[in-house]
Amino acid sequence: MSEVPRFWRESRHRYRMVGTKCKKCNTLFFPPRVLCPTCRRDSIGNMVEEELSGKGEVYSYTVVHDGLEQFKMQVPYVMAMIRMKEGPLVTGQIVDAEPSEIQIGTKVRAALRKVRTEGKEGIIQYGYKFVLE
C-alpha cells in the first residue's frame, strides 16, 4: 500500500500528459525530467512544462500473456511504445482494440483510464492508455 502523494504528485503528467521542455535545445520530454540529458547543467532553470497532444503512432507492441499480478484480470493485453507527435516515445497499453488491428505505424491517441487499484481499500490509480485514432 502506498501513500496518496506518490500518485497525486504525478497526476497532471498521467492524466493530461504534461511533459517538460528544455528551452535550450527545444526538446520536449515525456515522462517529465528535471534536467535535459543533452544540455545537462545548462538546462537548469530552463525546463518548462508543456502538454502533449496525446496523438502518436505505434513504434512497437506486444500481446502480454504472462502479466503482472495487478493486471491478471486483463490478460492477454496489449503493451505498446507510442511515438508521440511531439517526439517522445511512451510506454502504455492499447485498449478497446483487437491485436489484429494493431501494427507498427497504427495511429492512436491517449485516453484517461483506470490503470491500477491497490486492493479493496487502496487508491484507484488513473492514467493514460491508448485507443485507435
Partner: protein, 385 residues
Amino acid sequence: MRDVYIIGAGTTKFGELWDSSLRELASEAGLKALMDAGIYAEDIDALYGANTSGGQFVDQEQVAALIADYSGISELNIPSIRIEAGSASGGAALLQAFLAVKSGQYETVAVGGVEKMTDVPSEVANEIIGGSLDAEWETFFGATEASLAAMVAKRHEYDTGVKREDYAQFPVIAHKHGSMNETSHFRNVIKIEDVLKAPFVSEPLTVFDTAPISDGASALIISADKKKIKNAEHPLRIKSSTAANDFLSLHDRKSIDRFGAVRKSTKSALELAGLEVGKVDVFEIHDSYSIAGLIQMEEILGKEAIRMTRDGEFYYNSSHPVNVSGGLKAHGNPLGASGVYQAVEAVLQLRGNAGTRQVKNAENIMIHNMGGLGTTSVTSIIGVD
C-alpha cells in the same frame, strides 16, 4: 598497475533448490571457492556480495553481512559490502573487487553472488524482476521485462529483417551446452520448434525465449598476492573489467533495439585488455531473453552476428562459442549469482575442466553481464598468462 588474478572459483548447482536457504547457498559457494584457492578465511581482506532483490524475495537486506556471517568470518570483522545493479549485480561485484585489489588497498578479496528466487510464487518473482524497470513510467502501466524484450524483438525484426527463427536459436544453443553442465538448472536438449510452439509469455516471445527463475550462488577469490597466486593451482588473469550504462527506460533511448552501453563496455573491455575481438575465444553473455542474446552479439561482432547465428557458429565446437555454460537460459538465472557464475565458467574453460563442453585451446573469455535490457552493462575479460 599490478596484475589481478582469479585464484579460486566455486558454485552451487542452479535450479529450484527447495532444501537450501539463501545463506546456505552463499556459504556453500564461498567455501568451495576458498578451498579451490587453497587459502583460509583469514587470508580474505574484503567480501563483495552480489544480490539483486533479497529484500523482496526473502525479506533480507544487508545480504553481504549475512554471507560473511554464515561463511564463518564475522569474528574477523572483514568488510562485507553488497553490490546491487539489477541483474548485473554479479558482474558489478566482480568489477568492484577487481578495482579494490588493483588499487592496492586489498590483496585478496572474495566475490559472492546469490539469489533465492523460489521462496515466492512465480507471479511474485516476476513482479520483483520488474523492479529493475522504471516503476513510475513502465511497470505502473503494466509493462513486464518480458513485454519490453518482446517489443525490442518486434522492432528489431521490423528494422533489420531479422527473423523470429534467428533469435530462437539462442535458447537452442543454450540448452545444448547446458545439457553438458552438471550444475545447470535445465539439462534437456530442445529444438527450434519447441521454442516457437511453446506458450507465449509476451508475443512473439515464448517461455523458451526467457531465462528461468532459479536459486543459486557462485563465488570467486581474487588476488594480487604473489605468493597466493603462485600457490594456486591454476590462476587466471582478469585482463580487464569495466562497465557502461544507458537510460533506465527503453523509451528514452534513441533506438530500443540497439544496446549502446553493451557496445561501449565490451569495446572498452577489449581496449583495456589490449585485445582485438578476434582474440576472444569464448563469449559468455546475458541471454535473459533470446532477443537480448542476439542483440548483444550484434553489438560485439557487428551485423555478422546474424549470419553466424543462422550458420550455427555459436556452438562450443564451432568458430565463436557463445554461452558454453548453458547461459542464463539453461544453466539458470539466479539474478545476483548469474554474473559471478559467468566468471566461474570462464575459469573452468580456461583450466580445461569443462568436461564434454570444453572449448579447445581457449585463452581469452569475454563475460558480459547486463542489468535490465542494456541499462547496465558489465564486461570482464579473463585469460591465461
